[in-house]
């Protein structure tokens, strides 16, 4: 299929539909509104369900219901709206319901502004909701990757019965880049998907003898039973941490004098700064975590070359992922941070200068 020029918000929506998503519930918010508008336009055409919920709270609970019925379902919002979904997200994780959530991040805290930011890292990765749980968190850095992640997200959600969050931002949502789409699932394939969860989901009984009584639920008043339940979920998480860590290495080599760790939009900028420094004969490597949870702790540790003086964490926030990097680096070398906030995206020149100071 030929490349087309598309906004990230629309590309990820199109990709979700191609991945077999036929139910979408959301509430408008800048800078993700093109996503909901695209779904409003396309879902009816593919016989899917689009509902503009009365609120983000309602939307995430509609997702709980549709996901509990075993269908591929998605919601999306931006920072403040994602905060409103936290109770629902905790329920979805607790009830082990597959679902995909997209956060097109904007500047915060509070109403903040509508420009891009990455200040929802903690909320996404450490759990903004109550209780012990994890979301699988994917962080795209281009419109193409944003789109590709949709299918990936649904597969992961189904495979592990866990909600998956795609952590984008206003820049990825609003910008157009050339994007190429994968094959669109056929109605047969989608029908098959609808059956994969019939052993636990809300599902009609064939007949009198079909005695199943499924419960979509996160309540368990007996502590010892609840503990078992949580431990089960965590053994699932252990498997995810073993199998699903994704990251990119860029210019990582034994000559690196600085190793950068940066994700999403921020990492694009860092890459071009690295190129410029290379031209100047200065070797800087980059690890770009693609899964923010599970997090590539060991991969970061191993990427610290013999000549690395410093690990530099670059984020569009006041310093959130840096905690995880510190845990990964574990004192081997100093960890420094550079970030911009308020919706400001640092420039390659700015980053280049910062990195150069480390030489």
């Amino acid at each position: 299929m030929a490349k087309i020029l598309m906004k990230g918000n629309e590309a990820v929506a199109e990709a979700a539909i191609r991945a077999g998503c036929r139910l979408y519930f959301a509430y408008p918010i800048t800078p993700q509104s093109e996503l909901i508008e695209y779904m409003a336009k396309m879902m009816p055409k593919v016989g899917g369900t689009f509902i503009q919920a009365e609120s983000e709270v309602a939307a995430i609970n509609m997702v709980y219901g549709a996901g509990g019925a075993g269908k591929r379902v998605m919601t999306s919002s931006s920072s403040p709206g994602i905060s409103l979904k936290q109770e629902g997200i905790s329920y979805i994780a607790g009830a082990q319901i597959p679902a995909v959530i997209i956060n097109v991040q904007r500047g915060g805290p509070g109403l903040g502004d509508i420009q891009p930011g990455q200040a929802d890292y903690f909320q996404a990765v450490k759990g903004g909701g109550h209780g012990d749980y994890h979301l699988i968190v994917l962080a795209p850095s281009s419109v193409q990757e944003f789109a590709d992640m949709a299918a990936d997200a649904f597969d992961l959600a189904d495979k592990y019965r866990n909600p998956v969050l795609i952590l984008g931002d206003g820049m990825l949502g609003q910008m157009m880049e050339p994007v190429e789409f994968k094959h669109a699932k056929t109605d047969e394939e989608i029908a098959k998907l609808g059956l994969q969860h019939k052993d636990w989901c809300i599902f009609p009984k064939k007949d009198e003898n079909d005695r199943h009584h499924h419960e979509i639920n996160s309540l368990e008043l007996d502590p010892s039973v609840l503990e078992k339940h949580v431990l089960n979920i965590y053994s699932k998480y252990a498997e995810i941490e073993k199998k699903e860590i994704r990251y990119e290495q860029y210019n990582v080599s034994p000559d690196n004098e600085v190793l950068c760790v940066s994700f999403g939009t921020a990492s694009r900028i860092v890459k071009s700064a690295i190129d410029d420094l290379k031209a100047k004969g200065k070797s800087v490597g980059l690890i770009r975590p693609i899964t923010l949870w599970p997090y590539p702790y060991e991969q970061i540790a191993q990427a610290i070359g013999p000549r690395v003086k410093k690990v530099y964490v670059l984020e569009l926030n006041m310093g959130q992922m840096i905690d995880d990097v510190k845990v990964a680096v574990c004192g081997k070398v100093p960890v420094e941070f550079y970030g911009r906030v308020g919706g400001i995206v640092f420039t390659p020149a700015e980053v280049e200068q910062k990195l150069e100071e480390s030489f």
């Binding site: 490349k3 020029l5 800048t30 800078p31 509508i114 206003g170 820049m171 609003q174 910008m175 157009m176 880049e177 050339p178 694009r268 900028i269 890459k271 071009s272 700064a273 190129d275 995206v345 420039t347 390659p348």
Partner: protein
């Protein structure tokens, strides 16, 4: 390794976003790396709209343009806002009809003309943006006229053949202006 960063700005409704989109589309058709980032949100309301377009031979790091190589300004506020940030020896294209006070800089290449007037002559003020686009490619050759033409054909031939003609004519007039 070549890269051109363009800002197109004007009042909402002047079609500045479209200039950027056609540029990016043509760039893509010519196998360049492109990005397109519009101003968005309520600040658009009533006020001015602008779009940042990057076309280059390498993947685009940041679609955000702080210091454009080229500025197309279709009104005075936009010229005043972005004019100062244009790179030394960069290009500023503006419509003298809409930018009465012009631009003071003399360390950049300025290409001006009564583009609104021209658009009216062509027969539809809506093609003002295409005139400006024509000026840009006429001056820089950033993308080929032919690429734009085939793109426009794809999108408009069926829907609105008349407007298509006007658009192409506008682009050509712009290219002449650039000479």
């Amino acid at each position: 390794m070549m890269k051109t960063e363009i800002i197109c700005a004007g009042f909402g409704g002047q079609g500045v976003l479209t200039i950027g989109k056609f540029l990016a589309q043509a760039g893509m058709a010519e196998d360049k790396h492109v990005s397109w980032l519009p101003s968005y949100g309520p600040e658009m309301r009533g006020g001015t709209a602008n779009v940042m377009t990057v076309i280059g031979t390498e993947p685009v790091a940041s679609p955000i343009v702080s210091f454009p190589d080229v500025l197309i300004a279709l009104n005075q506020p936009s010229l005043d806002k972005f004019g100062p940030s244009v790179r030394k020896d960069g290009i500023i294209i503006y419509d003298t009809d809409m930018c009465p006070h012009g631009c003071k800089r003399d360390d950049v290449v300025k290409i001006t003309g009564q583009m609104t007037t021209i658009a009216k002559e062509i027969g539809n003020i809506m093609v003002l943006n295409m005139v400006a686009l024509g000026v840009l490619i006429g001056k820089t050759g950033l993308v080929k006229y032919e690429t734009l033409e085939s793109d426009l054909n794809k999108y408009m031939k069926a829907k609105n053949p008349e407007l298509l003609e006007l658009n192409l004519k506008a682009i050509k007039r712009g290219m002449e202006l650039a000479k």
